[in-house]
């Protein structure tokens, strides 16, 4: 049965990189009958929305910036509204290798409810990120028994029916952890596959403050808040 797949791309001031990302998404995907690309323009003031439209994507626009977590949630809700069977999350800054997309889909077809990429914790990744990602993944394992070695990776795919068990509240970067915690509590089978690690930017988005906030939230979720 061919599926409708929606690729949701949150974008905040990504005009320079977005076109390349959009054109690199493969057309041929396993068992996919129809492919929609949804770009969530998270209140950008540059040409992000125009670039996305030009490349043929569906553009959903936040009037003001809400954060990566909020952008992906809006994008996912748009995907469901369009009738998607499979939802993919992919960053707009070129850090998620498009050639790994068929393997993400394949993992779903083999029986996983959801799947995320796992990056290699060495060379191209800056040492601070290696430390932070390792630390958060270990804390997540210790507190929730979630075995995912790279909890912060935002390259993922899941079946649309799993959305109610995954849906998060965090508008910031903590959403990646939150969805794993919620999924675990609902018994969602969440697989991981290794992906190519790409680092292009001199630090842009995340920093130590984000790591600390995610840690704080993990602890508060454990305590039942």
């Amino acid at each position: 049965m061919p599926y409708l797949i929606a690729i949701v791309i949150p974008a905040y001031h990504e005009a320079p990189r977005l076109r390349g990302v959009l054109t690199a998404i493969p057309w041929l995907l396993p068992e996919v009958g129809e492919r929609r690309v949804i770009v969530v323009d998270d209140g950008s003031t540059d040409a992000t929305a125009a670039v996305a439209r030009q490349a043929g994507a569906i553009v959903v626009r936040h009037r003001v910036n809400l954060g990566a977590g909020a952008a992906l949630r809006t994008g996912t809700e748009a995907a469901l509204k369009l009738g998607a069977d499979i939802v993919v999350h992919m960053d707009a800054d070129g850090q998620h290798p498009p050639e790994d997309l068929p393997r993400l889909i394949d993992t779903l077809l083999r029986g996983a409810d959801a799947v995320t990429g796992v990056r290699a914790f060495h060379r191209p990744m800056p040492w601070l990120f290696i430390f932070g990602n390792r630390f958060l993944s270990r804390v997540t394992r210790a507190l929730f028994g979630i075995a995912n070695p790279d909890t912060q990776c935002a390259y993922r795919a899941f079946w649309a029916w799993a959305w109610p068990s995954i849906c998060w509240e965090s508008t910031d970067y903590a959403f990646a952890s939150e969805m794993l915690v919620r999924a675990k509590r609902h018994g969602i089978q969440w697989d991981t596959i290794p992906i190519r690690t790409i680092y292009l930017d001199h630090y842009k988005g995340t920093g130590i403050g984000d790591g600390v906030r995610i840690f704080r939230k993990l602890v508060s979720w454990r305590l039942g808040a």
Binding site: P2, L4, V60, V64, L66, T74, E77, K81, G83, T171
Partner: protein, 119 residues
């Protein structure tokens, strides 16, 4: 001549009382908020003009001088205001998020209820 702290407290209380009045006139808060804040500032005016009045009170609270009591109460008020701010900001954040998301999703067409044609 009263000490400088007293004058300072008096001037501060008058200024705040005026600001609260302006805030009320501009409907930044309701009558309840206005009365609440005016009572606070009026209290400060009284304390700043006649600290002796409250000396027995200071003794029962085991603080050495009246101004210490004022500082302690001030901290409590600050705590309450901070809490109030926090609650308000959280509510606003939720409302803005909801609004922005609804506006964004309104432009997305609903999938037809009929099952898609198999290709």
């Amino acid at each position: 001549m009263p000490p400088a702290v007293q004058l300072l407290a008096f001037a501060f209380a008058l200024a705040m009382a005026y600001l609260s009045y302006v805030g009320f006139r501009r409907r930044h808060f309701g009558l309840g908020g206005f009365v609440f804040w005016e009572i606070i500032w009026a209290g400060l005016v009284v304390v700043s003009l006649a600290p002796g009045l409250f000396q027995p009170l200071a003794r029962t609270f085991r603080v050495a001088r009246l101004l210490d009591l004022v500082v302690v109460v001030g901290m409590l008020v600050l705590g309450a205001v901070t809490y109030q701010n926090y609650v308000t900001v959280q509510r606003l954040r939720r409302q803005v998020e909801r609004l922005v998301r609804d506006l964004a999703l309104a432009e997305v067409p609903e999938a037809s209820k009929t099952p898609r044609a198999e290709s």
